[in-house]
Each structure stands twice: as structure tokens, then as C-alpha cells.
């Protein structure tokens, strides 16, 4: 953390504030004004037009006993835990690339990592929807071919008792209430966040080569090298990814909307808080209530972010 300043020195360094002014002005006008409007409208019965009725905390009282919202927090909880676990592949890939002997290969792998970012989402969506297609999809073909299907049927019969896997009937991955969350978790295998990898690589770069030489001398094996050298040094980046992940997952609903529609799909098991906010605003026309939902969601995200900052310690 930066050194705290005595008031006298701070006065001397007053021109440092000038550095923040441009950013502050831009953010205040173009980001704060719309956000403030959302907070303002959460106290109104507002249907998106300019007619609005002040109803004070009525929207917030309604949020408290909104069954669909609290059910959607269960789904989002599972997704957050899954996404946290899905951070690991990106870290491992970054470490692998970093440990490569030749600088030249490291550079070319870094370039190859940037390319997928350019491919528009439409293409990725097309491929993954095809992966889950019940009749032609790869997943069902692989399951049939490797006997995984019979395993699932047995599992379902004896253990799960959902009664959804039947011989001869293709598995409807995205239209069966029990299968939607697992499908959302599998989505995007092998879960490489190219942005994440680049950020970790930037962090790993600050490790001097002499540190590795010292570790080799002491006969440290590669796993201990990871735990004691590399992981601590990129903890700031990991903590950063955790924050971005929590915000992204809790606010995000694009994938659920594209795959399952505004109602959250079969059994409503694809319903997440962000999608419920979208549904209330655009399907039911209750913009004021959607703003109140937004505020409640904001408080959840804030709580999780503060928790993350407190418990994910970063020792230098």
C-alpha cells in the first residue's frame, strides 16, 4: 500500500490531485449521472416513460418477499463457486507459458492468446449451441459412443431419481430443469479467460530469473515452486480476477438470456438476479422495481467484494 503522508507534505504535493481531476470529471458526468438516476427511480413506480409515482420504500419491501429473486440467488451461488474453480486453468496456463525456456515461444503464445479475443461472440455461441444440440450435438454423440449414456441412466435410476435419462432418447441439455445449471458450468470448456492469462503473465514477468536459479539449487520441485514463488507474487492479480469474476457473474445474464430467454428456461433454473432485473424491466415493464432489484444486487456485490478484499490477504 502507498506510504501515508503527513498533512504538511500532502499540502506540498497538492498538484497530485490535478492528475485525478480529468478522470473524476469524466466519471462523474458520464457514469455517475445514469447510476444516480437508477438509484432515484428505485423509489418510484416508474414504467420507463416520464410518468412516475413516488412510492418510497414500497419497491424495496416488495424485494424482500420476491420468491423468484431469492431462488435465483441459489443458482447464482452455484455459478460463482463454479467460476472460482474455473479460474484455475487460466492461472496454470499462465504459469506454464511463463516457465517456458525460450522467450521467443513465450512471445508467440502470447500473440496466439490475443487472437481468440478478436473472434466475435456469435461464432463461439454457434459452436457451443451445436455442442449441446440434442440430436446432432457432440456431447450426446460422445456419451452414446463411450457408454456414458448408460452410466447416466443407471445413475439416474438408482441414485438421482430425476427420471430424465432414457435409453434411445437424446438428452435435452438446455431444456431439462436439472441439466441447465450443469450445462452452464460446462459451457466454455477449457475455461481459459484469455484476458486473465495475459494479466497473470504480466504479473509473473516481474519475477527475476535469479529467483528460479536459487530455487533449483535448493532442489525445490515444480509444485513447491508454484506455491512458494509464483502464486504469492500474482496474488494481487488473482484477487483482481476474483473481484471481476464476482461482479461479472452476479451482474451478468447475457448467456442465460440468449440460451433460455427472459424467463430463465425450464423450471426457471436458469434464472439469475441480472436476468430477473431484465425480465421485470422489459417483460413486465416495472422499471422502478427493476432499479430497486439493482440496488439490492449492488449491496450483495459490495458485500462479496469487501469480503474478498479482507480475506484474500496479499503478503508482499
Amino acid at each position: 500500500m502507498p506510504a501515508t503522508l503527513s498533512p504538511r507534505k500532502a499540502l506540498h504535493e497538492w498538484q497530485l490531485y490535478l492528475f485525478l481531476v480529468p478522470s473524476l470529471v469524466l466519471v462523474a458526468t458520464f457514469m455517475y449521472f445514469p447510476a444516480a438516476s437508477a438509484i432515484y427511480h428505485s423509489f418510484f413506480d416508474w414504467q420507463g416513460g416520464d410518468a412516475a409515482r413516488f412510492t418510497g420504500l414500497a419497491n424495496y419491501r416488495r424485494v424482500l418477499n420476491d420468491v423468484v429473486l431469492w431462488r435465483s440467488f441459489e443458482t447464482i451461488g452455484i455459478l460463482i463457486i463454479a467460476n472460482i474453480i474455473k479460474l484455475i486453468p487460466s492461472i496454470l496456463l499462465a504459469v506454464l507459458i511463463h516457465r517456458l525456456g525460450s522467450e521467443k515461444w513465450q512471445y508467440w503464445y502470447r500473440v496466439l492468446l490475443v487472437l481468440p479475443m478478436i473472434v466475435p461472440g456469435l461464432v463461439r455461441l454457434f459452436i457451443w449451441k451445436f455442442f449441446f444440440d440434442p440430436n446432432f450435438g457432440i456431447l450426446n454423440k460422445v456419451l452414446d459412443f463411450t457408454g456414458g449414456k448408460t452410466l447416466l441412466i443407471a445413475l439416474d435410476h438408482h441414485f438421482l431419481r430425476w427420471g430424465i435419462f432414457h435409453a434411445g432418447v437424446p438428452v435435452p441439455w438446455l431444456s431439462e430443469s436439472h441439466l441447465i445449471v450443469p450445462s452452464l458450468i460446462i459451457w466454455g470448456f477449457p475455461w481459459i479467460g484469455t484476458v486473465g492469462v495475459l494479466i497473470y503473465l504480466a504479473g509473473l514477468q516481474s519475477i527475476g530469473t535469479e529467483v528460479y536459479e536459487a530455487a533449483d539449487l535448493d532442489g525445490v520441485n515444480s509444485f513447491q515452486k508454484f506455491i512458494h514463488i509464483e502464486l504469492p507474487l500474482i496474488m494481487t492479480q488473482v484477487r483482481l480476477s476474483l473481484v471481476l469474476l464476482i461482479i461479472g457473474t452476479l451482474q451478468g445474464f447475457g448467456l442465460q438470456f440468449l440460451l433460455l430467454g427472459a424467463n430463465g428456461g425450464a423450471g426457471g433454473s436458469g434464472m439469475v438476479p441480472g436476468l430477473w432485473m431484465f425480465n421485470r424491466a422489459f417483460s413486465a415493464g416495472e422499471f422502478g422495481y427493476a432499479c430497486a432489484l439493482g440496488m439490492v444486487l449492488f449491496i450483495f456485490i459490495l458485500a462479496l467484494t469487501l469480503l474478498n478484499n479482507k480475506y484474500v490477504r496479499v503478503e508482499k
Binding site: 498533512p7 490531485y17 437508477a38 525456456g101 487472437l115 478478436i118 473472434v119 454457434f126 424491466a281
Partner: protein, 282 residues
């Protein structure tokens, strides 16, 4: 300082295994890229017959690419203008802002920082309407400057949040050394901050550039005259066609990303290698 190649021999031998794993993962990551390329040479009938395997070179449909080129070129000038100005503006202002937070713990910096943090956590439901009204008041509607300013403002919160972490990791004595030589804050940024966090600045620049290069929602709402439209708007029309011409769409998407690829090949060198190498020596 030994060159990279001769670093600890021990690690070199186990590299083929690493190459294998990295290569495998990258293959999966590059699959969409392959799909985009091979589909771009097919017409709908060929695509329907075999969506996955590339067609024989003899039956490639080059007219998809001509269609793509004719569609992309009119939008290029606007897109480059918006993306470059937004990226440069966003990074410069963000670096200054992050420097303020990271350099010293000034009075009120705690409040200001939480003000920034709050914005990042705020989910946007009805943000577009108030933003539009604001732009209307400022007579920025139907101008490219509106998109540049939105690009710069939009990137601030995220960029400052990321940059602050990295600038704080820079050892303090480097700053003190520069200060003793009489370097002003501005010179400290130029000589210490930028060289040391070159790669993260490069990554954020790529992200900001990409964001405004593909953006279609704000341009479509803010702009009215056709000749002001950027690339994102042109592409969204392709996606809207009820009869989806997959071949043409993919070819156009590839051509739309070509300038990005060329730019990254060069600027990647600039951010990754040039700057960081210098810092370690310094």
C-alpha cells in the same frame, strides 16, 4: 545479463511436455478462429452439407470476401478514429488517475477510491436513457466525439482499478530515486510507471481498443447519419438478416478483425518486449 535462451538448462528439457499442454489448450481456443476462416469460403448450401470440415480449395467462394471488403471499407475510417482516440485518451487519463491513488495515500483518497469502486459494482438497468438525455443536453448527438468521450469515460473505472494494483507493486525506491534527481510527478510517470507496467498497459489498451472496435449499441443510438456509422453497426445488420448467409458473415467478420490482427502483431511487440526488457535492466 544473459539472453533468455540460456536460462537454467534444467528447465529446457521438460519443455516439450509444457508445449504439448499449451498447444492442446491453444488448439481448443483457436477452434472458433478456424471455424470463422473455413466457413468464410462456403455458401449456405456447402455450409449446410458439412459445417465442420473445410471445403476443397477449388470450390472456395471468394465473392464472400469481396462482399465483406465492400461492406467493411466505408466504416473503417470512423472505426479507427473512434477506437484510437478512445484508447489513447482512456489509457492516458487512467494512468494519471491510478498514479494519484498508488503514489501517496493523499487525504480523501479513501473516499475518492470508494466512489470509483461503487461505480464498478453498480448494475446498469436503465442507464442508457439518462445517458442519451445527457448527450442531447450537451449537443453531442450525431457526432463521433460522443463515442470517443463515452469510450474514454467508460474505460476509466476498470482501467484505474487494474492499473492501481500494478503501480503499487513497483518498488518505492525507484520513485524516491527519480524524485531525488528532481523529477516532477509527470516525469516520474514517464520514466518509472510506464516502462515498468508496460505489459499491463498494453493489455488494457487492447481491451479498450477491442471494446470500442466492436461496439454497436451506443453508436446506433447516438448517431443518425449513415456515413458516421462505425464497423460494429455495419456488422449488426449482417446478424439481423433472417436468411443468415454464414459464409458472407464469417468473411466480413474476418475482414473486420484483420486490421486488429495486423495492429496487434506490431503493437504487441511494442508493449510486451520493448518496454519491460528496458525496465529489468534499469
Amino acid at each position: 545479463m544473459t539472453d533468455g535462451q540460456t536460462i537454467a538448462k534444467g528447465r529446457k528439457s521438460a519443455d516439450w511436455l509444457k508445449h504439448l499442454v499449451i498447444g492442446g489448450i491453444l488448439l481448443i481456443e483457436m477452434f472458433p478462429f478456424y471455424m470463422m476462416l473455413q466457413i468464410s469460403f462456403k455458401d449456405n448450401a456447402m455450409f449446410n452439407r458439412s459445417p465442420w470440415l473445410p471445403a476443397w480449395i477449388t470450390s472456395w467462394h471468394w465473392e464472400n470476401w469481396i462482399f465483406g471488403a465492400r461492406l467493411v471499407t466505408p466504416y473503417l475510417a470512423n472505426t479507427v478514429f473512434i477506437s484510437v482516440s478512445a484508447t489513447v485518451g482512456s489509457i492516458v487519463i487512467a494512468v494519471m488517475g491510478a498514479y494519484f491513488f498508488a503514489r501517496y495515500r493523499m487525504p480523501f483518497s479513501g473516499i475518492l477510491w470508494s466512489a470509483f469502486l461503487v461505480l464498478m459494482l453498480m448494475p446498469g438497468v436503465a442507464n442508457i436513457v439518462p445517458l442519451f438525455l445527457l448527450l442531447k443536453e450537451m449537443h453531442l448527438l450525431n457526432t463521433l466525439w460522443a463515442l470517443v468521450i463515452l469510450g474514454v469515460a467508460g474505460g476509466q473505472v476498470f482501467n484505474i482499478y487494474v492499473l492501481r494494483n500494478f503501480i503499487e507493486d513497483i518498488p518505492k525506491d525507484l520513485f524516491e530515486a527519480a524524485e531525488i534527481d528532481g523529477a516532477s510527478h509527470f516525469q516520474q510517470i514517464m520514466n518509472v510507471v510506464i516502462p515498468l507496467s508496460g505489459s499491463i498497459i498494453g493489455t488494457l489498451a487492447i481491451l479498450t481498443f477491442l471494446g470500442s472496435w466492436n461496439d454497436f449499441l451506443m453508436p446506433l443510438i447516438v448517431l443518425r447519419d449513415r456515413q458516421l456509422f462505425p464497423l460494429g453497426v455495419g456488422l449488426i445488420y449482417l446478424d439481423g438478416e433472417p436468411v443468415k448467409e454464414w459464409g458472407r458473415t464469417m468473411a466480413t467478420y474476418f475482414l473486420a478483425s484483420l486490421p486488429l490482427i495486423i495492429l496487434f502483431l506490431f503493437t504487441m511487440k511494442l508493449f510486451v518486449r520493448g518496454l519491460s526488457a528496458g525496465a529489468i535492466k534499469g
